[in-house]
Each structure stands twice: as C-alpha cells, then as structure tokens.
C-alpha cells in the first residue's frame, strides 16, 4: 500500500527509468581511447596546419586542366585498362574455381576429415592476413614484372576471400539433406554434391560476383607495384608529376568501376 501514492503520481503507470550513473569503467575506456588517438595521430605526423595547407597547396594547379588528348588516346588509357580487366577476369575465374573444392574442405559440415579442416583453415587464415598488394610485390619480383605476377597475386587473394565467405555459407547450410544422403550409403563427395551443393550454389555465384568486384578494384592499383594494367600508367605519370593526366585517368576509371559495380550488384540481386 505504500506504493499507492507514487502510482498516482505517474498516471501512465510507467515508472520513469533511472538515468544510469556514469561508471568509472566508461570514463577509463573513453580516456584510453582518447590517449590512443592522440598518440597515434602524433606518430603519424598530425598537423592542424596541414588541413589548411592541403587546400592552399600550389600542386592543385597541376591537376587542371585535364590533359584529355593524353587520356583519350587509346594506347595510353584504354589498352592498359583492358589489360586491368583481363587480369581481374583471369584471377577471378581461376581463384573462384579453386575456391569451390577448398571451401567444402574448410566447412565443418562438409569437410572430409578433421586434419584437412584444420590445415586448410589455418593456411587460408594466414594467406588472408597478407594484404593483397604485399603479395603482389613479392610475386612480381618472384615471377616476372607485368600482368602475370599481378594475376597470380590476385588469384591467391580471390581464393582466400571467396573461401572465407563461401565456407561460412556452407557452415550455415541445412545439414539434414546431407545426413539423408549419407544415411542412404552415399560416398562423402557424392553426398556433399547432392545434399549441400544445390543449396549453397546461388551463394557461390553471388560471392564470386562480389570477388570479381574486389578484383576489379585491386587490379587497378596492382600496377603501382609492377603488376601491369592501368596502375602502371598512373605510377609512370605520377613520377613526372603529371597530375592533370592522372585526374583524367581517375575519371575514366571512376566511370567504368561504377558501371561494373552496378552490373555486379544487379547479378547478385538476381541470383540471391
């Protein structure tokens, strides 16, 4: 009965929740993050002045006017750009084809045996931890300067990415068809083929389209480290400070990448 007066004071019957007190832990975390940010910014050369000097830098004049004669010349931009796409296509096709069996090995649901699962998984985790361009630098030095080294690097990269995405899809697949197939006495590979594959294949196609998108973007920059394609042109022009040409190239890349992304998005929506 002692509660009755307070109920009357709150006509809706709801008790206003108390504002949670500021905890010491919250303050400490915030302070820690702030300290980390200040330290990191100092170490990476933070200057307030640079926000002003960025805009007043005389170099901006070098970006304008765009050298359209250079950019629209077929040999300078279009041909390397075509090579860029060829690298992306080759790397995507090989990488995605390799990823199909590896993904099934790397999912707990469909792996043939425990050791395979552990080995494949750890190898793939390590490969994925290597940034794509570092791999490209090493492979270009190891194999050859030009498109070949770049294509190998991107193949490894797309394999690692697709395996991760696709094996997670397989993990979440319905295990019952697989159990049914195994119960009828099917071999492991046949059971996986009949019991899991049909369910996850659309996701494979969708993820492959996404990997292609990543590869298109990566193949643009892979030339900066000697991997062939349009990046090589950008790197060469950068060394001569021809930013007017670079800006033109970037505009062309922008238009094409945007178009590819739209197409890939469309395919993904159609399939999924």
């Amino acid at each position: 009965m002692a509660d009755a007066p307070s109920d009357a004071a709150e006509p809706s019957g709801a008790v206003r929740p108390r504002k949670p007190p500021l905890q010491l832990r919250t303050i400490l975390i915030a302070a820690g993050l702030a300290a980390a940010t200040v330290h990191a910014a100092r170490q990476s050369g933070w200057e307030w002045g640079s926000f002003v000097s960025v805009w007043s830098n005389p170099l901006w004049e070098r970006f304008w006017p765009i050298d359209w004669d250079f950019v629209l010349d077929r040999r300078n931009v279009l041909d390397p750009l075509v090579e860029t796409f060829q690298i992306a296509i080759v790397a995507t096709v090989i990488g995605c084809a390799l990823a199909l069996p590896v993904s099934f090995m790397m999912s707990q649901l469909t792996t043939p045996n425990r050791p395979t699962y552990i080995v494949v998984r750890s190898v793939m985790n390590v490969i994925r931890a290597i940034p794509d361009l570092l791999l490209a630098v090493i492979l270009v030095a190891a194999v050859s300067i030009g498109a070949f080294g770049g294509a190998i690097a991107l193949t490894v990269f797309s394999l690692a990415v697709l395996v991760k995405l696709f094996s997670e899809t397989i993990d979440s697949a319905d295990p019952r068809p697989l159990e049914a197939a195994l119960a009828t006495g099917g071999r492991h590979s046949a059971a996986v083929r009949a019991g899991v594959f049909p369910e996850v294949f659309p996701a494979y196609v969708a993820h492959s389209a996404y990997v292609f998108e990543l590869n298109v973007r990566a193949s643009v920059v892979i030339g900066l480290v000697g991997g062939g394609g349009i990046g090589r042109v950008i790197e060469a022009q950068r060394q001569f400070f021809r930013y007017d040409r670079i800006l033109g190239i970037l505009i062309v890349i922008f238009v094409i990448v945007a178009v590819i992304e739209q197409i890939s998005d469309y395919i993904r929506r159609r399939v999924l």
Partner: protein
C-alpha cells in the same frame, strides 16, 4: 522456445521454397560465356608458355631462399616501430573517417532527412568509394609530402565513404517508434536524431568503425610501398635488394600484426553487438544481431 519448436523450425535462410533450377541451355550459355571471357582475358595478358612453366620453380626458389626468416636484421632496421606506425596510420585514418562520416551518415538516411539532402550526399559517398585507398594516397602524397600523414589522410577520406554508406544503411533499418514519440511530445528534429535514433544505432555504427579499422590496418601495411609510411616501405626495399630472408621476416610480422588486430577488434565488435547482459533485452539483441549479420558478408 521449446526444443520441439526448434527442431521443426526451418533453419535460417531456407524458409522460402528455392526457385526451380534453371534450364540446361541457360547453364551451358553461362559456362560458355565464362569460358570465352577467360580466354579473352588470358590472351590479353601475354603470358608465354615459358613463363607459365617456370613460375612454380621460381616461386619455390624464392620460398627456399627466404628460409629461415632473418628477424635480427629487420628488427635492427626498426621494423617493429614501422609495424606500430602502420597501426597508428590505420587508427588515425579510422578516427578521421568516423568523425567525418557520423554526421554525413545521418544526412544520407531516408528516415532522417528529405530527398534533396540525401541524394547528393549519397553520390558523394559513391564517388569517394570508387577510388582505391592507394590511389587517394598517391594524390595526398603530392599534397602533404612523403610520410605517414599522407596515408592517414587518404585512409580517412576513403574510409569516410564506406563508413558513411554502411552507417546510413544501418540508420535506415532502425524502427521509428522512438522518433515518433519525440515528435509527438514536441521535440525538435535534432532531439529526434539524438535521442530517438542514435541510441538504437550507435553500437552498430561503432562495430562498423572497428571493422573498417581492421581493413585499414591491411591498407596501411601497403602504403609504405609508395612512400606513405608504415611497414610496407620495409617490404619494398627488402624486395628490391632481394633479401628474401628479410622479406619473409617482415611478412611474418605483418601477418602477426593483422591477425592480432583482427582478433582484438573482432572480440570487441562481437561484445558491442551482443550488448551487455545486464542492460539489453532479448529483442534488442536480436535486432543488433540481424544488423550485425550483414557485417560478416563484407568481410574480406
């Protein structure tokens, strides 16, 4: 939530009847198209048979030459400091991007602002995202000079594009009940955003920030290749002198760095999305789980 219900419930993703398989002709056509594209791509790369034959041998030689990794020399050259520099670049870039993208994300969401505000900001995100970080870094190198600061700025701008897109997508999925309540009690537009939307969506946005930080760590490891600071510079100079033992040592350091950051950041991300066990209701956690689910799709 009894066990009987659990067993009869369809597992996630299979609730709808799958569409009938496509016809055989369609499949053959797709296979032929892929084969043709591959042949066209391959023919353009100018790969000689000789190159192809020698490649496995070359790669094997490099692998043999790089064992055992020579940590002593690279550590003497200050590689550990450069690893940390890479992490600092990534962190600074992420903070810049977070500060830039948070207000922009709200201004790009269809449940916050009218169409004429939203569309241009959306377009801005698309334009920024179209340029790879490394290309932006080459431009910033020209403007602020060689060094980590160019990398941090490039990451800041590039990440602001992706973070803006992801955050505004999350903001658009939020239930609008609280905003209506604030409107009904006479609150201003800003109060609606601050008290109606932000508390619902902030954990997800922070998770996006952390996820982008993980990507940025990989990106900043690359920046050194073009002189924008961090560990990448060490890799490219060791590769140029063909000191393969040193290359492997640096590469292993990069791998350890990336895996460590991924581990820590991933754990924090999951903790943030799951919410504290004390304060969040099951419904809330389920919502966050759904929103967070789309994060894993973007993992690369």
């Amino acid at each position: 939530m009894t066990s009987v219900l659990d067993e009869t419930a369809a597992p996630p993703g299979t609730a709808e009847r799958p569409p009938p398989p496509s016809s055989r002709w369609w499949r053959i056509a797709v296979a032929v198209a892929i084969a043709v594209a591959f042949a066209w791509g391959y023919s353009g790369l100018g790969i000689t048979v000789d190159q192809l034959r020698r490649a496995p041998g070359n790669i094997w030689t490099i692998m043999r030459l790089s064992w055992p990794p020579d940590f002593g020399t690279v550590i003497e050259r200050g590689a550990i400091g450069k690893v940390f520099e890479s992490v600092y670049i990534a962190w600074t870039g992420t903070v810049i991007a977070a500060v830039l993208s948070l207000p922009l994300a709200f201004l790009a969401s269809n449940n916050v602002v009218p169409r004429w505000v939203r569309i241009p900001i959306r377009q801005l995100f698309i334009v920024v995202r179209a340029f790879p970080e490394l290309i932006l870094a080459t431009i910033f190198l020209a403007v602020v000079g060689l060094g980590p600061w160019a990398g941090a700025l490039a990451l800041g701008i590039a990440s602001a594009g992706t973070l803006g897109k992801w955050s505004s997508e999350s903001i658009e999925e939020v239930p609008l009940g609280p905003v209506e309540a604030i409107d009904a009690s006479g609150g201003r537009w800003l109060s609606g955003v601050r008290w109606g939307i932000l508390p619902q969506v902030f954990p997800v946005i922070v998770a996006h920030w952390l996820f982008r930080f993980e990507i940025n760590v990989r990106a900043s490891a690359i920046f050194g290749l073009i002189g924008a600071g961090g560990i990448g510079g060490e890799i490219s100079s060791q590769v140029q002198f063909r000191n393969w033992e040193n290359v492997l040592a640096v590469l292993l350091m990069v791998i350890v760095m990336v895996l460590t950051i991924d581990g820590i950041s991933g754990a924090v991300r999951r903790r943030i999305l799951a919410g504290s066990t004390r304060s969040s209701s099951d419904a809330n956690r389920e919502l966050l789980g759904n929103l967070g689910g789309f994060l894993t799709r973007r993992r690369s």
